[in-house]
């Protein structure tokens, strides 16, 4: 700009050659900056004076120099446009967002920017979706049948031993409280009509037990259960009000642990009045990760759990402290599997939890042969007060878990519905499809 100004003054002096040069420059620029509609529009769309938009002044300076420096006018022009190219809208909104690269403000002709990306435009009409319905139907029905059959092949036996029924042997224990001594025991006899061929899982089931209550679910300290020593002595606030008892921290703290299921179930095969105890395996009932990663006993330089739990007290409802849950050291303390299983709070108020495994001992005999059995129950766990139910369940499992016919039925139902709808759509397609025949041509 300065140079131009100087040129202007020279022009006044009147040297013809200089004047020629300068007028050339001046003319151009009058053109570019003065009266041509382009710069005006550009600038005004992003006014110089609006702070946010920016960009204007420097490009203008460039423009000022360019006519003097470079060649033909048209070239200048495009060059200038480039310098000035500045999208407005978004920029005007607040930000001088650049992006107007290219010769002019002309938008790029790319499929993306012009919203012409190759696309699939499905049109939902009876004709087009017919196959989908049939395919869904044809896939779902076999799956459903498969699941259903699998589920039906699962053997399951369930005994309610709550004792609400006065005739039940456990009726006497109905009003037991947590720590009644001596413990109330009862025996229930039952008969298995069919033998259980594979490994049998022994569950205890609770009904109407809201283990998913919000405050209940929270009421635990995972750090403590993980063996963290500081948490052991100073449990999380979440455990309140089962955090401390008599001034000592509770281990394990919290309502979940406090309400741990503590009935003992023993199973006997009754063979001609002789009760043959059935080996109940209490290991392997918890998730492997729980047993080995999540739950750990407090660490210390001794293996003596009693010492490790020094300074803590047992949960209020428990008869024994946590380090006396089991005799085996690798199933004692926090890593007691019954405890771990209990700590995995159930999703629904009716649930079962794995209690014991009955492994098939040899291939000759079924795991549980058909016949009479008796179940010895050490009845400690009170559920009557909240109308709870306690059950003992014996079940084999399949690839899809326990016995549950629902999924199979659901698949069959949905598959059938889809198939039926497919037929309906076929009819509709024949009835209405022709109406828009022409429109349906492409598809």
């Amino acid at each position: 700009m300065r140079s131009l100004g100087k040129g202007g003054r020279l022009g006044v002096l009147g040297h013809p050659a200089v004047r020629e040069l300068v007028t050339f420059g001046g003319c151009q620029w009058l053109h570019g900056c003065g009266t041509g509609p382009f710069p005006a529009r550009r600038r005004s769309s992003v006014p110089l004076v609006t702070g946010p938009s920016g960009g204007g002044p420097d490009s203008r300076a460039e423009r000022r120099l360019r006519p003097l420096l470079s060649g033909p006018m048209a070239v200048n022009y495009t060059a200038k446009e480039e310098a000035d190219g500045h999208p407005s809208g978004v920029g005007a909104a607040g930000g001088g967002s650049g992006g107007g690269a290219g010769k002019s403000r002309k938008p790029d002709n790319t499929a993306f920017k012009q919203q012409r990306l190759p696309a699939w435009q499905p049109i939902l009409t009876a004709g087009t979706v017919l196959p989908a319905f049939f395919i869904i139907g044809l896939i779902f029905i076999p799956i459903g049948i498969g699941i259903f059959v699998t589920s039906n092949n699962i053997r399951e036996y369930e005994i309610d031993y709550t004792g609400t029924d006065p005739s039940s042997p456990c009726n006497k224990c109905l009003n037991m409280s947590w720590n009644s001594t001596p413990p109330c025991t009862c025996t229930i006899n039952f008969t298995l009509d069919h033998s259980f061929e594979t490994n049998v899982f022994m569950y205890y089931g609770l009904s109407n037990f809201y283990q998913n209550h919000r405050r209940y679910v929270k009421s635990r300290d995972d750090s403590q259960l993980n063996g963290d020593n500081s948490s052991l002595l100073n449990p999380s606030k979440e455990c309140e009000p089962y955090r401390t008892s008599e001034g000592k921290p509770i281990a394990p703290c919290g309502a979940i642990a406090n309400s741990m299921f503590n009935d003992t179930l023993e199973l006997f095969f009754v063979d001609n009045e002789t009760r043959i105890p059935i080996t109940l395996n209490k290991k392997g009932i918890a998730w492997w990760t729980d047993k080995n990663v999540k739950f750990r006993n407090p660490s210390g330089n001794t293996n003596n759990l009693t010492a490790l739990f020094q300074g803590t007290t047992k949960p209020v409802n428990w008869p024994k402290p946590v380090y006396m849950l089991d005799s085996e050291p690798d199933n004692n303390g926090f890593i007691n599997e019954d405890f771990i299983v209990w700590m995995r709070t159930a999703a629904l108020p009716t649930f079962r939890k794995l209690y014991r495994l009955i492994e098939r001992e040899n291939n000759l005999q079924p795991t549980l042969q058909a016949g009479k059995y008796s179940l010895d129950i050490t009845y400690n766990y009170p559920v009557h007060s909240f109308d709870g139910r306690k059950r003992m369940i014996l079940s084999t499992i399949s690839w899809m878990g326990g016995k549950n016919p629902f999924l199979g039925i659901a698949y069959i139902t949905v598959g059938s519905i889809c198939f039926f709808l497919g037929v309906v759509l076929l009819v509709i397609h024949h009835k209405y499809g022709n109406r828009n025949n022409s429109a349906d041509i492409p598809n």
């Binding site: 204007g56 995972d222 990760t289 159930a346 009716t350 326990g402």
Partner: protein, 1520 residues
């Protein structure tokens, strides 16, 4: 040094207070804010005690700081701003609720996460914006300019930001003005400075600014150090067009300061070597920055609707929470005192009472269900809108290559409103038309020069396609034309293909370049410049010039010229000089200087001479402010003394005479000397002169005059040079320029004629005003009679021009006697020099001189329609949009433009409302309504049929039911009455029944009132489009304002929400982008509601199984990030990219736009439908896993995870069903979302064995993914959940497809089939409507058929005289019916209206007779006969009627027309009948009824009607 002082805004107050104010200033510093003036003095004065005052700080310096935040204030300030949004407050409230232990549902820290996330995103966006503002500020702040430095005693370079008020700034040519600067010195000898204000208003022409009076008189160079004056001026304000103040000199004298003295920041100095000025306003106080009010935020209709549904969501939330709370209370209560082990007591070990538990739970549930209020909805919508705006910007179809401008979205958040428009209010000039004025024809002295060659030339531009190759070979001379024609041809070709997508091609770029090279000035394309003169007129002009020369050389008085010749001569002189056109030549500014050195000298000597002899210096008034105001502020007072206030009229007069006598002599000298320079002049002429005009009309006229060799070659402040054939260069001394204003509607120049030495006033203005200002001529005197005849002839031609859609201007002249001039001059100078209400006085002064004019002639300027306007209007109308045109133009012009752009159809009945008072308007409106009612009652059956139809059903009941269509034309005066509170309802109900409404002569305020009326009363979505400052108010009022970035400046664009380069771009903007934006956003919003409801409902069902304890089976991380992370991307992609119907189909079938108007995509019930669907889906997604895992060992989160997964699948598949277009992005976003969920879940579930209480989901997902049941659940649940919706969509698409679905099916069809189907639809629609094929069909119908149907019509018509519901399919024939059936006496009740309707329904013949009729009205009773005699009936009919009816001329019907023409009395009689009948005088009507059909004496009627009309306030209602 400067200060803000107190005091009134008015100058007198200023003066009074100024004295006492000074001492008070300091103690009253506190009140500074209230002060209304600012005083500025030089910063270079010795720093006195005042200079150090803190008051100085109060004035903004020139540092630009648009940033909102500083590093420190960012966080608090930004947060504060964000919390202004209610939604944010709500979310923070919920997050804080989590910190209450009794109610918390989630980890408090985690619950904060989404809120923090959203706040952070917004903050980062704000920060980024602020940073870019900072950078651009910095850039501007560091621009350099020259500021006077006291120490160095010279101008030093400094940064813009260092400039302070009171600094002296020197600007060189082409520099940008850094602040608002008072111009004190200029290198220009006249003290002028040219600036370009494109930065401010987009106007590209140069404007002149003037040095403050007294400084102009300085002989020596301006020295800032000697500047001791104090400037008192207004406080900073944003009015760009006003600046008032005065400057107090040390001597105590004061001068007024005006807008002309101020250089505004952002302008560019042009054509001026150097200017110096003092900074008055700096930085943020400059007018430019005060005017800069960032982008606007409007709330769209969709968003309003959405907010209602958000409120519904709140209600649902509350209900759900209440339900849960009560449930929980009951649940707790049922256990009574026996507390179960799983009911955990509070921290203190006590159990809560059921009621308290319920209360706490209510709060907890609000937290748990918070997702129902879509936290991310607002963020998502903003993101989507920004992307939509991006795509609109990127659309190359909305890019105009010619101007290199593209669409701008200035309002970011109302894109979807574009898809819901119902009314379009459009400006005419510059919006529908190019605002490129082309001289078309003129009439001089009552003789019309049709300029046929010119018309042909113009036509050539339009249809240049075939000639492209020829012209290409014509060589260089035609290069300009060639360039135009080539690009025109491209346009035409493409139009014929009717594809808009590939409109622009490379050759267009070439054309553009060529046009750049051909040195176009603003407003002048070759089309406007190359005017082919009419041979007759050219001959006359030449002859006239020859005569003049002969006369002059023989020293004969010029008055010997025949009146016609002198009129022609004056006409062209007026065309040439009566304007403010600045002549520049490409090599500015040197050209100007050179011309000055050549030309100025003789005149200067004359002036000097005169001045020497006229000490009182009457010529001081002769000046030339070329600005558009009346101000003629530039004074010649270089020799001192200002206002001859003391001079008596007498002395003035005598001196004037003296002066004039002298100048006459000198003028001859001047002339001869000029003749010697003819050679130079000739050379000059070869160099192309450029005319920079303030309005395109002016340029057009100057170019037209140049075509007749009457070229404007130079305009200086005090003289205009005109190059004439034979005469050479004539220099007119320019005494005054009375600029154009919209109230006077005219402009004048006062010049001294170099040949006759008379003082002439040349006035140019709207015919309506000029005609009233003409010298009344006595009919007795033959010359007067002749003049009268000329006037009436001219008026006729003016009407014809108007019918052709031309803009008309009348040119008139007045010769002032010296006495008159002197007396006027005195008052004018007083007005000019007065400080208070100067504008008013100048206005009065102008009115005084612009009287008793002598009519010279009139011009017709064509304002060509923009490309594609008729097509666009037709398409928009098909799209169900009602288009109203609000224009300031005169009625006839407006109507004809309306016809030209297909706004009005010839088969339409047009109701014209012209009333003179409130009462008559009321009566008129009532009558029209009754008339329409009667029409509608005939159509009820059809309407019923329409309602049954499902297809393209019209939106608002009667208005767009095209069965019979009405057009409403209303003029400004009547509009003012119609907008009255009492009448507006009637007006609206009338207007909405009309297919199109045309408001003529409307003011900007009326425009906005109309828009407001429609917007508020009809609750309709309105769009206003305009290009000029007069459209700003309308644009601002409308729901969506669209500005056209045209030559009329940027005010409209600045006020608008969207700016388009061309009107036709509106089509794609609305039909495609509007529709897409609307449908995308509507679908997204609905989906959002669905999604959240569905997700929350899952939790709600769970409450039934967890004792309403507020437990959630879904891990809280999933819960909180579900919306944010997992399900957000696909919906965003769909919201941005989905295309329910492809663009070409949307354009091809504009009817699809109606879906937006009817809110089809997002109707209130849809919200509930979606809610129900969400309910169902959540039930499925909840209970399938529920039963699957019932009574199993599953734990709560191992069960919740499948549910989450199922919900995610369902939600995404739901979106998939709703997605209409699947691009790669859609696929990948959906897949990405699902993958993201699994990846996040897997990582999350192994990351920490003891973290994330209470869920502690360690290994959950891993374990689940090893179980087949998980997959089985995940497959069946979404399928079951989506089955109904899928089925519904399928059935709907098959059995009762919507228009949009049909449109979608069109995609992919071969073009032929495409149009076939479209036609099929049309037919279907029409056949259902029991309507005849639409107009186009009938136009194409074979002629035999046409004549048959005509016969049929003709036969039936007399039998059913009162049937109004003609089939619009036979426009032409009905027209004939009307005219032939005029003699049919209509029977009451609607009879009178029927009659009016009859002749109006269409015929242009009657339009003409209307025009004629109006003249008779305005003229006196007696004159009417005279006029009748002179009015060339048949020729008039042929001229314009032919054009409109040319398509039927070949039919036998034409002969009938001939017959009709022979019956003019019956027409007029009918006219008269109309006029009378509208008065409501039935008895009178009865009379006329009796008279109808008989050959009554026509003149009697004509006599009778005007009198009647006059007595009853000249009411005129004509159904055109």
């Amino acid at each position: 040094m400067a200060r803000d002082s107190e005091g009134g805004g008015d100058a007198p107050q200023l003066q009074k207070e100024e004295g006492k104010e000074r001492p008070k200033r300091q103690p009253r510093k506190r009140k500074k804010r209230e002060s209304k003036t600012r005083s500025v003095s030089s910063n270079l004065l010795l720093p006195g005690p005042e200079a150090e005052q803190p008051t100085r700080r109060a004035l903004a310096n020139n540092r630009l700081q648009t940033t909102k935040y500083t590093a420190l204030s960012f966080l608090p300030k930004n947060l504060f701003e964000q919390f202004h949004r209610l939604a944010n407050v709500y979310f923070v409230f919920i997050a804080l609720l989590n910190f209450m232990p009794a109610v918390n549902a989630f980890q408090p820290e985690l619950a904060l996460a989404p809120v923090v996330f959203i706040l952070a995103v917004t903050s980062i966006k704000d920060l980024w914006e602020d940073y870019s503002r900072y950078r651009s500020d910095n850039e501007i702040n560091h621009m350099e300019c020259l500021v006077y430095c006291r120490n160095e005693k010279k101008y030093m370079t400094s940064y813009w930001k260092e400039i302070e008020v009171g600094d002296f700034v020197q600007l060189r040519c082409n520099e940008i003005v850094p602040a608002d600067i008072l111009l004190l010195s200029s290198s220009d000898p006249d003290g002028l400075c040219h600036i370009e204000t494109a930065n401010l208003d987009g106007e590209t022409n140069l404007k002149q600014r003037q040095v403050v009076r007294r400084f102009l008189e300085l002989d020596s160079e301006f020295d800032p150090l000697k500047f001791t004056s104090v400037i008192e001026c207004e406080k900073p304000n944003n009015d760009l067009s006003r600046f008032r103040g005065y400057i107090v000199h040390k001597s105590g004298k004061r001068d007024g300061l005006y807008k002309e003295n101020l250089l505004l920041r952002g302008c560019t100095v042009r054509n001026t070597e150097e200017v110096t000025g003092i900074v008055i306003y700096a930085g943020h106080e400059t007018k430019a920055l005060l005017n800069n009010s960032g982008p606007r935020y409007k709330r769209s209709k969709l968003e309003r609707q959405m907010n209602i549904d958000v409120l519904w969501c709140v209600l649902i939330l509350i209900v759900m929470c209440l339900f849960s709370a009560i449930g929980h209370g009951l649940w707790v209560w049922q256990y009574g005192e026996k507390k179960p082990v799983f009911d955990v007591p509070g921290f203190d070990g006590n159990y809560l009472s059921p009621v308290l538990a319920a209360v706490y739970l209510f709060l907890t549930m609000i937290i748990v269900f918070q997702v129902l209020i879509p936290i991310s909805l607002y963020v998502s919508i903003e993101i989507v809108k920004v992307c939509q705006v991006f795509f609109i910007h990127q659309d190359k179809d909305l890019y105009d290559e010619e101007t290199d401008s593209q669409l701008q979205c200035r309002a970011l958040n109302i894109t979807e409103d574009l898809g819901q428009m119902q009314y379009i209010f459009s400006d005419k000039t510059g919006t529908l038309t190019e605002n490129k004025m082309v001289f078309r024809r003129c009439t001089v002295s009552g003789i019309e020069y049709s300029h046929d060659a010119n018309a042909k030339r113009l036509a050539m531009y339009q249809e240049a396609d075939s000639e492209e190759e020829e012209t290409a070979t014509k060589g260089e001379t035609l290069s300009q034309r060639n360039s135009v024609s080539s690009h025109q041809s491209i346009k035409v070709v493409h139009r014929s293909l009717s594809t808009k997508s590939h409109r622009r091609t490379g050759s267009r770029v070439e054309a553009k370049r060529a046009s750049i090279l051909s040195k176009h000035t603003a407003f002048s394309s070759p089309m406007e410049k190359d005017i082919t003169p009419d041979p007759n007129l050219l001959e006359k002009v030449n002859e006239c010039a020859r005569n003049l020369e002969v006369m002059r050389s023989h020293e004969q008085p010029l008055s010997q010229l025949t009146p016609e010749m002198s009129d022609i001569f004056d006409f062209f002189i007026a065309l040439t000089i009566c304007n403010t056109v600045v002549v520049t030549s490409p090599d500015q500014p040197r050209q100007k200087v050179r011309v000055r050195s050549e030309l100025k000298s003789p005149v200067k000597t004359i002036e000097d001479f005169i001045r020497r002899f006229t000490p009182s210096r009457l010529t001081s008034g002769s000046n030339s402010s070329s600005s558009s105001s009346l101000t003629t502020s530039r004074s010649m007072s270089k020799l001192g003394s200002g206002i001859p206030s003391s001079t008596s009229t007498d002395s003035t007069l005598s001196k004037l005479e003296e002066k004039l006598a002298h100048s006459a002599q000198m003028n001859n000298n001047g002339y001869s000397s000029q003749q010697d320079r003819m050679v130079i002049g000739g050379r000059l002429e070869e160099k192309e002169l450029r005319y920079e005009a303030e309005s395109p009309d002016e340029a057009a006229l100057v170019y037209a005059a140049r075509a007749y060799n009457c070229a404007l070659v130079g305009r200086l402040s005090d003289q205009v040079s005109v190059e004439l054939p034979h005469l050479g260069r004539l220099t007119f001394e320019l005494l005054h320029t009375l600029g154009f204003d919209s109230i006077r509607k005219r402009m004048s120049v006062v010049v001294r004629h170099p040949l006759t030495d008379e003082i002439n006033v040349y006035t140019k203005g709207a015919d309506s005003v000029i005609m009233d200002l003409l010298l009344p001529c006595s009919s007795g005197d033959p010359r007067g009679k002749h003049q009268k005849k000329i006037q009436s002839k001219t008026q006729n031609y003016l009407n014809l021009y108007a019918i052709d859609g031309l803009r008309t201007l009348c040119i008139a002249k007045r010769v002032l006697s010296k006495e008159e001039y002197a007396s006027w001059l005195k008052s004018h100078l007083e007005a000019e020099s007065s400080i208070e209400n100067r504008e008013e006085l100048l206005f009065q002064s102008a009115l005084r001189i612009e009287t008793n004019l002598h009519l010279l002639g009139a011009t017709g300027i064509e304002d060509r329609l923009q490309d594609g306007v008729p097509e666009t209007i037709a398409n928009l109308r098909k799209a169900g949009l009602q288009i109203w045109v609000l224009t300031g133009d005169k009625q006839e012009t407006a109507i004809n433009i309306a016809y030209a752009c297909k706004l009005l159809d010839h088969d339409e009945e047009i109701i014209t409302l012209n009333a003179e008072s409130l009462e008559t308007s009321a009566a008129l409106l009532d009558q029209c309504l009754r008339y329409i009612e009667s029409k509608f009652s005939n159509n009820t059956t059809d309407k019923a049929a329409e309602n049954l139809m499902v297809g393209f059903e019209p939106l608002s009941p009667p208005a767009s039911s095209v069965h019979f269509s009405l057009g409403l034309v209303i003029d400004g005066k009547t509009l003012a009455y119609a907008l009255d509170k009492t009448l507006e309802d009637k007006f609206l109900s009338l207007a909405r029944r009309c297919r199109s409404v045309l408001c003529c002569r409307s003011t900007p305020l009326q425009k906005s009132m109309v828009v407001k009326l429609v917007r508020d009363k009809l609750k309709a979505m309105t769009l206003a489009i305009g290009d000029g400052a007069n459209d700003v108010s309308m644009i601002q009022v409308a729901d969506v304002g669209v500005g056209i970035s045209g030559p009329e400046g940027m005010q409209a664009v600045m006020a608008s929400d969207f700016a388009v380069p061309r009107f036709r771009h509106l089509e794609k903007l609305l039909l495609v982008h509007g529709h897409w934006c609307y449908s995308r956003l509507a679908n997204m919003v609905l989906y959002f509601f669905y999604k959240n409801a569905m997700f929350v409902a899952l939790l709600f069902w769970y409450q039934f199984y967890c004792g309403f304890s507020g437990s959630s089976m879904i891990d809280q991380w999933y819960l909180i990030f579900f919306n944010l992370l997992f399900s957000s991307l696909p919906q965003l992609i769909t919201g941005v990219l989905d295309q329910d119907v492809p663009a070409d189909v949307l354009i091809g079938v504009p009817q699809l736009y109606k879906s937006g108007q009817n809110m089809e995509e997002y109707q209130p019930h849809m919200f509930w439908m979606n809610m129900i669907d969400a309910l169902y889906q959540s039930l499925v997604c909840f209970f399938i896993p529920f039963f699957t895992y019932y009574d199993s060992e599953v734990d709560i989160f191992s069960w919740g995870t499948p549910i989450t997964t199922v919900a995610l699948f369902t939600i995404i598949l739901h979106l998939a069903i709703e997605t209409k277009t699947w691009t790669l992005l859609h696929w990948s976003s959906c897949i990405f979302s699902i993958l993201l969920f699994f990846i996040v879940a897997l990582i999350y579930n192994v990351s920490c064995p003891i973290c994330y209480p209470p869920s502690n989901p360690y290994w959950t997902m891993e374990k689940l993914m090893g179980e087949p049941v998980f997959y089985l659940t995940c497959i069946i649940s979404p399928v079951t959940a989506l089955l109904p919706r899928f089925l519904y969509r399928t059935l709907q698409g098959t059995v009762f497809p919507t228009q949009l679905q049909l449109g979608r099916q069109l995609k992919g069809l071969p073009p032929g089939a495409h149009s076939q189907i479209l036609n099929k639809w049309k037919f279907k629609k029409e056949s259902i409507l029991q309507k005849p094929p639409c107009i186009e069909h009938s136009l194409q119908a074979p002629q035999s058929n046409a004549s048959d149907s005509f016969k049929a019509c003709n036969q039936t018509l007399p039998l059913q005289p009162s049937q109004h519901g003609y089939d619009p399919a036979f426009p032409a024939y009905t027209r004939v019916e009307h005219t032939t059936g005029l003699s049919v006496t209509a029977s009451p009740p609607g009879a009178e209206l029927y009659g009016e309707n009859k002749d109006s329904s269409g015929t242009n013949i009657l339009e003409q007779s209307l025009g004629f009729h109006k003249t008779t009205h305005s003229a006196s009773e007696m004159e009417s006969i005279d006029v009748e005699e002179t009015f060339p009936w048949n020729s008039a009919v042929n001229r314009s009627g032919f054009r409109l009816l040319n398509w039927i001329t070949s039919t036998p019907l034409f002969s009938r027309f001939g017959r009709i023409f022979q019956l003019p009395p019956s027409h007029l009689q009918n006219e008269a009948q109309d006029t009378v009948s509208v008065l409501g005088s039935t008895s009178l009507y009865q009379d006329f009824k009796g008279l109808t059909g008989k050959n009554l004496n026509f003149q009697e009627q004509i006599k009778g009607t005007p009198t009647d009309c006059c007595t009853s306030e000249t009411l005129e209602s004509t159904f055109l």
